[in-house]
Every structure is written in C-alpha cells, then in structure tokens.
C-alpha cells in the first residue's frame, strides 16, 4: 500500500512487485507483502479497523497540537460543563476538558497496548515453540507453568499482581503481559506440533540443522501469522483490562488521563452528566472494535493454510 | 444410441478470482447412456471440474454455461439449487477420492448410510437399517452388523471407500460420478473396489463416469474414454482402442508411462505445445 503511493511510476512498480520471476530476495519479499496488502485492502472492515488505529496513532503523536487545553488543568468554576464549541466533549467534575483528556489518553492506551504486545507475544512464541518442538520433559515443565497461569481468571491475577507491585500504569502493563503470554504459548505450541511432523521440517532436519535453527528460522515464521492475528484480537481485551484496572483505581493514577480511570471518575455523575462517562467509554469501544476488525482482516490475509 | 442418460453440449466453466479469470472447461460436449465412461487427464485438465459442473457442485466464483446439459430428459442447466438437491444423490451420486474427508467423523458409518437412504425415501428407521445392511453386504463387507456401528476413523481406506460407495448407491441413482475413487488406495485394494463398482453398476443398469488420471485403469475398466487436456476434450474413443490411439496427446501420455516390460532410456516425455491443441482443431 505504501510503496504504491510513494513512487510516481505506478504501473512499472506494480509489475515489478507482481513479477513471476523476481530477480532478488528483496523483490520476492516485497511482492509477497504487496499481494498481501492487495488482499487486505479488499476487506473493507479490516481497512476501517486499520484506519481507526492509524488515526489513533496520529492523534497520539500530535496530541499537544490537537488538544485545545491542558488535560491536567483543573478549572472548578467550569466543572461538568455540557458539550459546547469551547469544550467539544464537555468538562469533567474538576472542570478538565474531556476532549483534551481523551486525546492525551490515546497515548496511554497505545503505550499499554504496545508494551503488552512487545512483552507477551515474544515470550509466548518462544516458550510455545520450544516446548512444542523439543517435547518431552521440557514440554511438560513449560506447559505446567503455562497451566498454572491459565488457571487464574485474567483480571483477578492482574489485580493480585498490581496489588503486590503497587498501582501505576507500568505495573498494570506488567500484570497484563504476565497474564496474557500463556495463551500465546499455547497457540504457538499447538502450531509447532503440527509443523513438526511436516515434510519440510523433516527435510531441514535431514540437512543437519539443529533445533535452534529449525525453531527460529523455520517454525517461528509460520507461527507468527496466527500469533499476530491472535494478539491483534486480544488487544481489544488488553484495552478493556487496562481500562478495568484504571476503573478500579489500580491502573493509571489520577490525574493522568487514562480512559478507564476517566470512566471511573464519571461514574458518580452518570445520570445527570452523561458525557463524563460516555465519551471516554465510547473511545474505549471504538478502539477495541477497531482492533477486532483489524484482527479479523489479518486472519484472512495471513491464514497460514493459504501458503501451502 | 437410445435416449441418452446424460448429454452435455458445449459446457464451459469459468472461475473468476482476484487474479483474473480461469477458463477451466472449454466447450466440452459428450453424451452417454447406461455405460461406463472414463474421463482421463492430468491435473488441471478440467476433468474434476467437469464432473462437479454436472452436479453444479462448484463454488460461487465459478460460472457454468452450456448449450445443453440434460440428464434423463431434465434440463440441469436451469435447475435451481433446491431442485438440484433432489437430483443429487437420487438422480446422480458422486464418490470422492478420500472417504475420510467425505464421512462425518462423529457418526457411525451405518447411521450415515441409513440417513442417506432416508433422505430420499420415506421409510422407517428399521427398514433403513435393513437396507443399509443389505447394501454393506453388496459392497462385499463380510460382517455388516459389526461395520454398521463403526466410526469412520475405525475403518481402513479400502473399507471407507466401500462404505462411500454403499452410501452413494443406496438411493439407487441412475448415474454415479466417481472422482478418483481408488487413487488413495493400494493396488490390490484398488482392484477389489473397481470390481465392486463394476458389478453394481452393471447389475443395476446405471451409468458411471469414472474420473481418473490413470490411463491404464480407465482403459481396462470403462467402455468409452474421454481424454481431456487444458479444459478441452482431446478425443473420445472406445476403451479397447485407447492403446492404438493416434491422437498425439493420448499417444504422448501412453508413451511416457514406464512399463515392466522394458523402457527406452530416457523415457519419452510429453511435448506440451500448441501443436496438441491445433491437432485437436484440425483433426
């Protein structure tokens, strides 16, 4: 998608990308990505999801320019103002501009989502593929540990961890990451078990490759696509868990403009001042939905069965 | 030939996908009576698509058009999906390559055969069971009572294919389309399955379309053979004359099969050029 817009000579580039006889590994890979993008762009809801997320990223980057007010500035004279041209989304119980808070809150949301993905997904894939490929005692050990983590309800475990580590957004991220890797490990292991008996893995073993090379070079890339899909779909859940922790006062601490904490703050005014809780709640809803749409779209593009 | 069981005129199937259109079947015409007809060709020759087009069992991306496609005097081409459903099974049945994918894994095989009988006949469960056991015996299963209660995973490939045949023949169709029914099986088992098919088809006066990649098998088993290549019919000939065929494509295929009796080295290979298609148009 991006190269198409970036270069002026569209048709030459297109035929280069879709060439049947690529002249280099780079061209082959670019062509593969390009046809993936073509498939993806046909899925409207996935494109919608991606656009919302890109839009969110843009907002997060440009937050200081977009937000009309300081998100932390309290103005008790103007508390609980309704929607008006001055305050697009009204003000909250301390007179802070809700629109600005939502705009700055997007940074926190992305921070949580990004960190959880960066911590939990690699941990899950490494543990899952090692466990699945090596089998035996290592498999039993790793999977029992995974089972222990899976035996607790996610939110309860996160609560316990935050309670132990102390409230705060970093600790919330750690708590969520710790509770979400076991699911990824399970997926990666299941995938590895089927891949392990495939002829192409036998073939590379017969070339003399050791377990490290096979796992990193041959099995992980194939687990990656289903994992990306799963992580994307889970992001909605991560946002909700983060919001839930914020709502319970264990996530981001006031006055930071975290969406979950904002809904929590608006709880007392839900009947008379609906916007205080509804608007941050809608932001959570829209972003979660976007991740779900994107995940479904990615599933269709990255479906590992298509490659065979 | 008396009234044809199945007659197809100028059948075309076009798949339209993201990467353009694929013309899978190009102008196929043939008609058959109550006989065994074989369709042979290599992968991509359109033989399977032809078989499925007759039953209209193709995905939505496929467009079927033909001048005529009549089965027993009924026009298949303009039948709705609902009308086709009453033809499938009772009028025309189909046996696929691998029985393990065609059987429901959580039901006993006996139940599935009985169900396919009851779907077409209004009979009691007891009667369906009796017919099923008869049918299992007809496909030479020695202990039908025992096999009735087995699950698909508990039967071997050869047994599974017999069960599929029993299931497809129990509604007494007039035409059976068998798509590579024995390719997944060992040669000795292959033989038994074909014998059973031959016996049942002859005894019941059915038509059979056997789709296969195996020239030798088709020429030994069928009455007539249709050779397909690139979506087109290359030639239609009597099976006994297949080995004397003069058609360059058929000859090419026959020549490149290794034989126990000795072979040239290197083996002759097939020259896939346009001359083949031209020979078709000129001849």
């Amino acid at each position: 998608m991006i190269p198409e817009r970036a270069r002026p000579n569209k048709s030459a580039l297109k035929s280069w990308l879709l060439s049947d006889a690529p002249a280099s590994a780079f061209q082959a890979r670019a062509g593969r990505i390009y046809s993936g993008c073509l498939d993806f762009s046909k899925n409207r809801s996935a494109v919608l999801g991606l656009s919302i997320i890109l839009f969110l990223i843009l907002i997060a980057i440009l937050a200081p320019r977009i937000a009309p007010c300081d998100p932390l500035l309290t103005d008790l004279k103007n508390r609980l103002q309704p929607i008006s041209p001055k305050h697009f989304f009204g003000t909250d119980e301390l007179g802070r501009d809700i629109f600005s808070r939502i705009v700055f809150g997007s940074r926190l949301t992305l921070y949580v989502v990004g960190l959880v993905a960066v911590i939990a997904a690699p941990a899950g894939i490494v543990i899952g593929t090692i466990s699945g490929y090596l089998g035996g005692a290592i498999d039993t050990l790793l999977m029992r540990i995974t089972d222990i983590f899976l035996a607790f309800p996610k939110l309860i475990l996160a609560l316990a961890l935050v309670a132990a580590l102390g409230p705060g957004i970093e600790n919330a991220v750690i708590a969520i990451a710790v509770t979400s890797w076991p699911a990824y490990a399970r997926i990666a292991r299941a995938e590895t078990l089927t891949l392990r008996s495939c002829d192409f893995i036998h073939a590379i073993r017969l070339q003399g490759a050791g377990p490290f090379r096979i796992i990193t070079g041959h099995i992980m890339p194939l687990c990656l696509s289903s994992l990306i899909v799963r992580v994307t779909l889970d992001m909605a859940g991560v946002i909700l868990t983060a919001a839930g922790l914020g709502f319970l006062g264990l996530g981001a601490q006031p006055p930071s403009p975290e969406w979950g904490a904002m809904t929590s703050g608006g709880r007392a005014y839900i009947l008379d001042y609906w916007w205080v809780i509804t608007l941050p709640g809608s932001a959570i809803f829209v972003v979660s939905l976007a991740f779900n749409l994107l995940g479904d779209g990615l599933r269709e593009v990255l479906d590992p069965r298509k490659g065979y | 030939m008396a009234a044809a069981l199945l007659s197809i005129k100028n059948l075309n199937v076009i798949f339209s996908g993201a990467r353009g259109e694929v013309h899978a079947v190009k102008g196929v015409s043939f008609s058959m009576g109550k006989e065994k007809i074989g369709i042979v060709g290599e992968s991509g020759s359109g033989k399977t698509v032809t078989g499925r087009a007759i039953l209209k069992l193709l995905p939505a991306s496929a467009g079927i058009c033909a001048d005529a496609m009549d089965f027993n005097g009924q026009d298949l081409l303009h039948k709705s999906e609902k009308e086709m459903r009453s033809i499938r099974g009772r009028g025309i049945a189909m046996v696929m390559q691998d029985p393990r994918y065609s059987l429901n894994p959580v039901r006993t095989v006996g139940w599935q055969i009985a169900e396919s009988y009851r779907a077409h006949r209004n009979v009691s469960g007891k009667e369906a069971r009796r017919r099923t056991l008869e049918m299992l015996e007809a496909v030479r299963i020695r202990n039908p009572d025992q096999v009735y209660g087995l699950y698909p995973r508990e039967v071997s490939g050869g047994m599974g294919q017999r069960i599929m045949i029993a299931m497809m023949l129990i509604p007494e169709p007039a035409l059976l389309i068998a798509d590579e029914p024995t390719s997944a099986l060992d040669v000795t088992v292959q033989c038994q399955i074909l014998e059973i098919l031959d016996d049942l088809v002859t005894r019941r006066g059915m038509g059979l379309i056997l789709i296969s990649h195996d020239l030798e098998l088709v020429s030994a088993f069928c009455d007539r053979v249709i050779v397909m290549y690139g979506g087109r019919i290359m030639e239609i000939c009597d099976a006994k004359d297949l080995h004397e065929s003069r058609h360059p494509y058929t000859r090419g295929l026959l020549n490149c099969l290794p034989k126990i009796t000795g072979n040239p080295d290197p083996l002759p290979t097939l020259n896939r050029d346009d001359a083949l298609l031209n020979a078709f148009f000129l001849g």
């Binding site: 490659g307 | 040669v187 090419g252």
Partner: protein, 247 residues
Amino acid sequence: MLTITRLDMVFGAGAAQSHAVNNVSFEIQKGTSFGLIGESGCGKSTVLNCITGLLTGWTGEIRIGGRAQQRKRDLSFYRAVQMVFQDPYGSLHPRHTIDRTLREPLAIHGLNDAVRRVEKTLDAVGLDSRFRFRYPHQLSGGQRQRAAIARALILEPEVILLDEPTSALDVSIQAEILNLLKRIQKERSLTYLLVSHDLAVVSHMCGVIAVMNQGAVVEELTPENLRQGDIRHPYIRELMAAGRNFR
C-alpha cells in the same frame, strides 16, 4: 555404499506393539539404484526413517560408505545422505523462496560460494534463474519436485533416498523427473534407494528390487526376473496380477 544388516524396529509395547521392520538386510553398490517396494504399511517408509535418523529406536546395523552409523548422526552424515520426499507440496517451506531453501543447507555446513552453488544446482535440475526467487506456491508440482531434488543435491551427497518421488505427480511429469534422476545419477555416480509402490517405476529405475510385506523383505529380484515372471513369492504375483487386472 549402503549396507543394512538385520534392521529391526518395533513401535509401542505390550498388546499395541507392532513390529514395523523385521530383520531387514540389504546392500546397495555405489552408483546403483535399489528399489524397495510394497503396499502402504509394509514398513518401507520406516526403513527410510531409520536410515535418515529420524527414528532412533532401531536395532541392527546401518553402514554408509563402510562407516557404521550411530543413533545420533553427525554433520558429515547429512553431507553423504540426502532425501527427496513424496509430496512436493509439503516438502518445501511455504514461506521460503527456492533460493533460501537451497542456501539453508549451505549455511548449516558452512560452505562458501553460495550463489554459484545455488545457480549450478538449479541448472542441474533444469530450473532456470527465473525460478530462483519464487515461493513454492508459484511453482507447479513438477517444478517443486525439481527444487526438492536440487535441495538434496546441493550438499553433493553420495546417497539419495527417494521416497515415492513421483507418486504425487502426473504421468508426463513423472517421466521427466525419472529421466532427471537417471541423468544426475549417471553424471554424479549417485547411489539411490528408491521406495515406491509402483512396480513399473521401480523396474525402470533399479537394478535390484526388494519386495517388502508386513515389515520383512520377502524377495529380492531384478527387473529381468519380473519380465520373465520368475517370481517365487505369491505376494508379488498378487501385486503383479492386481496391476494387470484392471490396468
């Protein structure tokens, strides 16, 4: 070149025990082809897996080029013995280009001059440079099998194990692949162990044919014996009859 002596392989234990390979011995001379034939479940693939080291529970002796092989193989084994699989759709990594697939063994064995070797090997199996950076899904079945043969050749082994290399291919492609295998055998004086269920293919390729049934080699014969009908074991007669009856 390859000597198997009293190879035994037992799966499972107790009531579920099955003797997959039962006292199998044979010897393959350098530069010749040896055929192993039998129906599915006769143990022929198990023999291959014991030779390659994918299975470890075997007993008996496997000698390659005079060296007895241990359960665990070292790197030099893989340079001497390579394998071509039955299903060309499953034996190539779906996310790797042909180039990557061929470079991988070179990287494992620390061989330099990768580009030249890849090009030379592709050329030897009749794939021109257009195919080098394609993914498997951009190739036909026959081209994939050529790529798989190239992968087996790139380490310049002495023995190649062929597991039904053409049974998933069309007959015209089968002829091309068989010709290719014969040609490279002659050029490189390779030793083949060909496993197949097709008597005609094996008799075309091999000088000696061993017939397996229920885990044991029931008879060893030559294509000449087959032609003359000089067969002792009834099972082979049955196989041949089955081949003739409806074929």
